[in-house]
Amino acid sequence: MDIVIIGLLLGGTYALMAMGLQLQYGVARIMNLANGEVLIAGAFGAFWFFAGTHASPLWSLLFVVPLAFALNWVIYRVLIAPLVRRAKNQGKLDVDSILATFGLSFLFIGIMVAFFGAQYTDYAYLSEPIFIFGERYGLNRVVAFLGSVILCAALYVWLHKTRAGLALRAVSVNPSAAGLVSINVMRTSALAFALGGAVTAAGGVLLSMYLTFDASYGVVFTLKALIIVILGGVGDIRGTIVAAFILGLAETAVATLIDPGLTLAAAYILFMLVLLIRPEGLFGRRTA
């Protein structure tokens, strides 16, 4: 029971972080290996805010999210857009964007080490127990989960009820066809990329409330988000949410039953299974 509830709480927060990558890879079609570093930057933002003001780190969302949005917009416009223009096909774009964002991730790590140091960081916020079905859980986990659910729901409604959301979904299905119905694909992709970065940073703020992190820990989150996106199916929001819960449960099971240091192994086993059994993901469409 413990495992199920902690796993669900963790999965809920993972869902938000993976939604960010889903927007970047599923809509803008950029394989962003610096995604985890943006998440860690969000976590550092929350830590810095909490250490300075002792107010709820949730308030830091107010500046972390717009900043992450602006930063990722600039990254797309300055670094990614030239690659998109010179790429002949998706394979070439993948190679280029992997290299560029791989370099970017180390740049981010370096900047964060310069500002916050290389040591493990955490802070105690709402670390009082809450009782669910008679068992104790950290209140911060529950709050992070609720925050993630609210943001995910808002994103989902935005994607499905607004014209801009419709444009994003159109680009996700087929960029060249989206161009034919007078959607500005480049602008929409930039929007998706920036929004994805903002959502990921928000995930970082929420995760920082109960996880210990350091500047170089981003790669683990990049990997987890990628595995969630692939497991759920590229371009499928439902799949992402389901996959996030699966990963949350699997990790918690491994951490509780075997060793807390092996969470990445759980993610890798899931990844292996997907690649061997269903490479297009749970909800993905098989492409030619």
């Binding site: 394989m31 394979g91 993948d94 791989f102 180390f106 740049l107 370096g110 990049t222 092996l262 490479p279």
Partner: protein, 353 residues
């Protein structure tokens, strides 16, 4: 050490052309010259030379797989670490040369599993998988040590001088070059170049693409493991954080890209300047190395996407065009086509000659 990997496309049998013989001779001479370094200089220069040879071996073995296929492997540190741990874990039980062989076998086996799981599907999955591989093996190693109750670090000590390390690594680098040269001439290398240019075409030519990719990934990773085993005793103390440092994967990729990834000797051109500059940066700005490494990487990706070899070849092409006399209309068209190919910044195109 310089051997041209570019095999003519149409060739049966193993006839060595005069051009190839010349490059082989140049390579052999460079190797002999490099072998004399420890006799002339010791101390700091030799240390830097050991770094250069180690990274040359790593980057060239990385290139064996990632160069022709364009599948960017970010997993060098994982295999390097496996080699280190094999040497460190067995040093009290088995003789050291046996451990080096075991390290190679262990690396090959692990690469085989990873390759079979990931190389049958789209390339991007392989890259993702390789990204966290070092971290995964590190977690498993830490856990194993925890379960077995051993200490987190292991001491490896054998009697070796710096010169001996240097010669070992130099010899291995030569072996890697010979293997790379041989692969470039073989059907396997030809198959890989087709895969790198267009995987769909490769499949339609009847190439078993998955098999070719797995074989090459195994060869490439085996070398990384052996290098790990060779340098483990030089470091003396092995622990998970050091052995599986993701920086190593990053440095290897950056050096290979700087040199250029479509010639066997490309990484060498990147390794030598980068190692020297890196030594200076680590001394001058010890706290900003990560940031500067990121900046260097971005500069290389955007400014010289074809690396030094790409720059050199472009210069030669332009000069050849300049001295061509008055070209007829056909030549002009051909020139336009080839200059379009030369202006193309992506590293994929120029494999076929």
């Amino acid at each position: 050490v310089s051997i041209v990997a570019k095999a003519p496309i149409v060739r049966a049998g193993f006839g060595i052309t005069a051009h190839e013989l010349r490059t082989l001779l140049v390579g052999a001479l460079l190797l002999i010259a490099a072998a004399f370094v420890p006799l002339v200089s010791e101390g700091y220069v030799l240390q830097v030379m050991i770094s250069i040879v180690m990274y040359a071996a790593l980057a060239t073995s990385w290139l064996l797989f990632s160069g022709p296929t364009n599948y960017i492997a970010l997993s060098t540190a994982a295999f390097f670490g496996i080699g280190m741990y094999t040497a460190a874990g067995g040093i009290d039980i088995l003789p050291y040369p046996v451990l080096i062989i075991i390290a190679g076998v262990a690396g090959a086996a692990f690469a085989g599993i990873v390759g079979l799981a990931t190389l049958r599907v789209a390339g991007v999955y392989f890259v993702i998988f390789s990204l966290g591989l070092a971290e995964l093996v590190r977690q498993i190693m830490t856990w194993l040590q925890h379960v077995l109750g051993t200490m987190s670090g292991l001491y490896v000590t054998i009697e070796r001088t710096e010169s001996e390390y240097y010669w070992q690594l130099l010899l291995l680098t030569a072996v890697i070059f010979v293997v790379g040269w041989w692969i470039g001439r073989s059907r396997l290398g030809f198959a890989l170049r087709i895969i790198g240019n267009d995987e769909v075409v490769a499949v339609h030519c009847g190439i078993n693409t998955a098999r070719a990719k797995v074989i090459l990934f195994v060869i490439s990773s085996t070398f990384a493991s052996i290098i790990g085993a060779l340098v483990a005793p030089r470091w003396g103390y092995v622990e998970p954080v050091v052995a599986f440092n993701p920086f190593l994967s990053f440095q290897v990729v950056i050096m290979a890209l700087l040199g250029g990834t479509h010639r066997l000797w490309g990484p060498l051109l990147g390794v030598i300047p980068f190692t020297i500059i890196w030594e200076l940066i680590s001394i001058e700005f010890p706290d900003q190395t990560t940031m500067l490494l990121g900046v260097c990487f971005l500069l290389i990706v955007y400014a010289i996407p074809n690396g030094f070899t790409g720059l050199i070849e472009d210069t030669f092409k332009r000069r050849a065009k300049g001295h061509g006399g008055s070209p007829g209309p056909v030549h002009q068209v051909l020139g336009a086509v080839s200059s379009a190919a030369a202006d193309d910044p992506r590293p994929q195109q120029s494999n076929d000659a």
